[in-house]
């Protein structure tokens, strides 16, 4: 049916896609120009020469390399924690006879619905009391807490659909509780792991507000806050700022293209559930 679609529609959509991607192309173009003048006076002209030194400035003066490492660490550790803790808790809550199950479920639903504004004011005090201020853990643990509710609910819903026999077979084989949780549970939940990992990674990679409020040490900044810091220290060095922005965008988009299927599925399942 859809195969009979008019070619003009495809053409119009291709034009629209070009318009949508134009701002990013403008960033990459500008990042290769040798001066501010060229960026803003001739915004759509090709650079007079390819000024790769802008990228060197973004990495050396803008610390993009260190921000990138921090972002990767924060994202990786947050995903690991959310997947493991989420699967454990979700499995427990999938058992009808788990004590206080409705109360715990309600707490996770509340955690899912609460906007970040509800707790950001006093989160600083918590981080300080735990001595986490200005470290990567000041982001990893709150991000984990933010992503856990949906993870727990998704895992719990999935485990209720699994036949009980799966577990019973494992137990008959004499597997201990610890080994069950450590080695058997996660492979069992593979479809949900992908969804949870994608949603958690998108959040941790792009989060800005908590990072803005709780990380002031240069060495613990992630890409979003780092980029803002770079912008504030180099307000008028547009080619270098655009080089920084295109570095971040290229890394993000590369990840997106590689994991495209999982991202689409993750976003849909996260939204619909």
């Amino acid at each position: 049916m859809a195969e009979r679609r008019a070619p003009w529609l495809t053409l119009a959509l291709a034009l629209l896609a070009a318009v949508v991607l134009a701002p990013l192309a403008w960033v990459v173009l500008g990042s290769l120009k040798p001066s501010n003048l060229e960026v803003f006076d001739r915004p759509f002209a090709a650079p007079s020469r390819l000024a790769w030194e802008n990228y060197a400035r973004a990495v050396d003066e803008g610390h993009m390399g260190s921000y990138l490492v921090n972002s990767l660490l924060v994202t990786g550790l947050t995903v690991l924690l959310v997947v493991v803790l989420g699967a454990w808790a979700g499995h427990a809550l999938s058992k009808r006879r788990f004590p206080l199950r409705p109360v715990f479920l309600a707490l996770f639903v509340l955690g899912l619905a609460l906007p970040v504004e509800a707790y950001l004011i006093h989160l600083g005090g918590v981080l300080e009391a735990l001595g986490l201020h200005d470290s990567l853990w000041a982001l990893i643990l709150p991000y984990t807490a933010q992503s856990l509710p949906l993870a727990v609910l998704l895992f719990s819903a999935y485990f209720t659909t699994l036949p009980r026999e799966l577990e019973e077979v494992a137990l008959l084989d004499g597997v201990s509780t610890a080994r069950f949780y450590l080695t058997i549970l996660l492979p069992l939940a593979r479809p949900v792991v992908a969804t949870v990992a994608v949603l958690t990674a998108l959040h941790a990679w792009n989060e800005f507000l908590l990072a803005l409020l709780f990380v002031s040490d240069e060495r613990a900044k992630t890409l979003p806050v780092g980029m803002i810091a770079f912008q504030q220290s180099h307000t008028t060095d547009y080619p270098a700022l655009l080089a920084g922005l295109s570095l971040i965008s290229l890394v993000s988009l590369a990840g997106y293209v590689v994991f495209n299927r999982q991202v689409v599925r993750g976003v849909v399942e996260g939204a619909v559930k």
């Binding site: 049916m1 809550l93 609460l114 800005f208």
Partner: protein
């Protein structure tokens, strides 16, 4: 598997949620009824900050901005996403590539998006200056938000469309309905649940909005939303009381609407 073992593996998630979300949320609720003096002593002040909020013109303006932002992002995010989904559903290489393009902004941080468009719209040097002036900024930011999120709604609607059986569309076509008629009279009614989800997401997104406003309008007092007002309050003043009250009001509003929708849905079965 012992029940005790199960509890042991359940607890870490609960502890993390409790320590980093539920406890500070509770403190915020309590803190909104207390004033912290310069000496650090806390004193109960009842509904003082809430009475202040009720008469704070800045808060009312910010809340109104949130409402307008929601109404503007509806067509730019949800509406555009629906149209893209209707146009791009189905097989074909070209269509898959276009879907990839429209969904791509999902990977970008709103900080990156905000800075890129902030540069483009910058007064004086930008390519399209003046778009972030007072009176225009809200519309501009809504459009940028549409640029970033229309693809997300497209993907959500595509999932909804793929659940509609082919026979339904074919039957309508045999009856002589054109593509638009099928979309409007057949597909849209069948997408009711998906549309509900999309509206809810858009609503929550509009009232939690922060990043784009903070990044695109730095050091500007105009066009605040509740979240930027709240963060400015936190960064500027030592007394967290009024900020806490704002946080409770905003959270209460979002939770209230979510609860209401849930209740209505429940009664409809």
């Amino acid at each position: 598997m012992t029940p005790r073992g199960r509890l042991l593996f359940f607890l870490p998630a609960l502890v993390v949620l409790g320590v980093f979300v539920l406890v500070p949320a509770g403190q915020t609720l309590v803190g909104s009824f207390h004033r912290v003096g310069p000496d650090g002593a806390s004193e109960y002040v009842g509904g003082l900050y809430y009475r202040y909020a009720a008469t704070d013109p800045e808060l009312h303006r910010a809340f109104a901005n949130n409402v307008v932002y929601f109404l503007l992002t509806l067509p730019f995010e949800v509406g555009a996403g629906l149209l893209l989904a209707l146009a791009l559903e189905g097989r074909g290489r070209a269509r898959a590539l276009l879907r990839l393009c429209f969904f791509a902004p999902v990977a970008l941080s709103m900080v990156v998006v905000g800075l890129v468009f902030g540069f483009l719209f910058k007064d004086g040097v930008g390519v399209f200056p003046g778009l972030l002036a007072e009176g225009r900024a809200l519309l501009t930011i809504s459009l940028v938000s549409g640029w970033a999120f229309a693809g997300v709604y497209m993907v959500i609607f595509l999932a909804g469309l793929s659940a509609i059986p082919r026979e339904v569309e074919e039957a309508a076509r045999l009856d002589g309905a054109g593509a638009w008629q099928v979309a409007w009279h057949v597909k849209l009614p069948l997408l009711r649940r998906t549309t509900g989800v999309a509206l809810l997401l858009c609503f929550v997104g509009a009232f939690r909005a922060f990043d784009l406003f903070w990044v695109m309008l730095p050091n500007q007092e105009h066009t605040s939303v509740v979240a930027t007002l709240l963060v400015r309050e936190v960064l500027q003043f030592d007394d967290p009381g009024y900020g806490s009250a704002l946080a409770v009001l905003l959270s209460g509003f979002v939770l209230g609407v979510l609860g209401l929708v849930q209740a209505v849905r429940g009664t409809r079965g």
